[in-house]
């Protein structure tokens, strides 16, 4: 166990698993309870009242899913992680430039 904990990959996996259990188990329990209540509603008088908003949300989300699929098919999200590296590179370049300017100014000052 201690050996496993010393391994960073293992430790990360374990933490993730524990956190997942802590979050997901109560969430799933709560959701299942509410979902069963919802199913029980479907048959009776208030049914339409409860089902309609949910149906609306599902329909809108469905449109969203189609748009997403369309975007995927048109070649988007192929290199989704690239911008985060570009952003850091830009920042480094700007900082270096600023440092050079400061040094130039310093040089001029000392002569």
């Amino acid at each position: 166990m201690t050996a496993a904990l010393r391994n960073p990959t293992r430790r990360r996996l374990l933490t993730t698993a524990i956190l997942a259990a802590v979050i997901l188990v109560p969430a799933m329990l709560g959701f299942s309870k509410k979902f069963l209540e919802f199913l029980a509603l479907v048959g009776n008088e208030d049914g339409a009242f409860a089902v309609l908003p949910v149906l609306n949300y599902l329909l809108v989300s469905l449109g969203f899913v189609f748009l997403f699929g369309w975007a995927l098919l048109h070649g988007m999200f192929r290199n989704i992680e690239q911008p985060k590296f570009d952003m850091l590179a830009n920042e480094r370049r700007l900082d270096d430039e600023a440092r050079c300017e400061d040094e130039e100014a310093w040089d001029r000052e000392s002569f």
């Binding site: 609306n56 809108v60 997403f68 369309w70 975007a71 048109h74 988007m76 999200f77």
Partner: protein, 228 residues
């Protein structure tokens, strides 16, 4: 579409905002178009002409005229429907300007024992008028809900209460409003001025549209019952 700038602008920026506005803004807006927005004059005449009721907001307005004839004549002339409408509009303006609505709500909820405490639960038609544009539901109650306040207290009580709230309600944390009165001394308020008469008329108007006006507190009789 999703990863492009136009996608962000059109779908996220305009589209999703429009979706929310249509479903959560336009729907309730259109739902109440069958209840036309009443003007202040209509509201006053409606209750004054109702044969089933003994009192209306005009009753209280005339009472203010009788109690403070000089101040009343100076600021509002005669207690007519027109001058009452002027006072109500001004009263609402003062209510908003002084931030009253940040410590007093104007709707009764169907939960938490609010019906026995305040009176009938709020209904949509009560708010379809000029004095609820924008609506003054409020989101905080440091002081009591005021939507059923009209007629519960006399005009004299309101004069003292606005001048020094703790003289009528010893635990009150409400600020004093000496600028609602002319000629006050340390011993007490003078006559209510333009704003004073207006805010008191507005107080007396709140809830006056209900058949049961005034609607008195029942809390003391109910008190030992505890939470329902």
């Amino acid at each position: 579409m999703f990863e492009t700038k136009s996608g962000i602008f059109l779908i996220a920026g305009l589209g999703m905002f429009a979706l929310a506005f249509l479903s959560n803004g336009l729907v309730p807006w259109l739902m109440y178009t069958n209840l036309p927005e009443k003007t202040v004059e209509e509201l006053i005449v409606e209750q004054a002409n109702d044969p089933e009721r003994a009192r209306s907001v005009l009753t209280e307005f005339r009472d203010l005229h009788d109690r403070y004839p000089e101040a009343f004549a100076r600021y509002y002339g005669e207690p007519t429907v027109e001058s009452c409408a002027v006072a109500l509009r001004e009263g609402r303006r003062v209510y908003v300007a002084e931030g009253c609505w940040h410590c007093h709500s104007q709707f009764v909820r169907p939960v938490s024992n609010e019906e026995p405490r305040w009176g009938p639960v709020a209904r949509s038609w009560e708010f379809q008028n000029e004095l609820q544009k924008p609506v003054l539901f409020g989101t905080r109650r440091v002081g009591p809900d005021l939507s059923r306040e009209g007629g519960r207290h006399s005009n004299d009580w309101h004069v003292v209460h606005f001048f020094q709230p703790r003289w009528t309600s010893p635990d009150s944390v409400m600020p004093e409003y000496p600028w609602f009165f002319d000629g006050s001394t340390h011993e007490g308020p003078g006559a209510p001025n333009r704003r004073g008469i207006a805010i008191i008329t507005y107080m007396q108007w709140l809830g006056s549209w209900l058949k049961q006006y005034p609607h008195y507190h029942q809390t003391e009789a109910l008190w030992p019952r505890g939470i329902q």
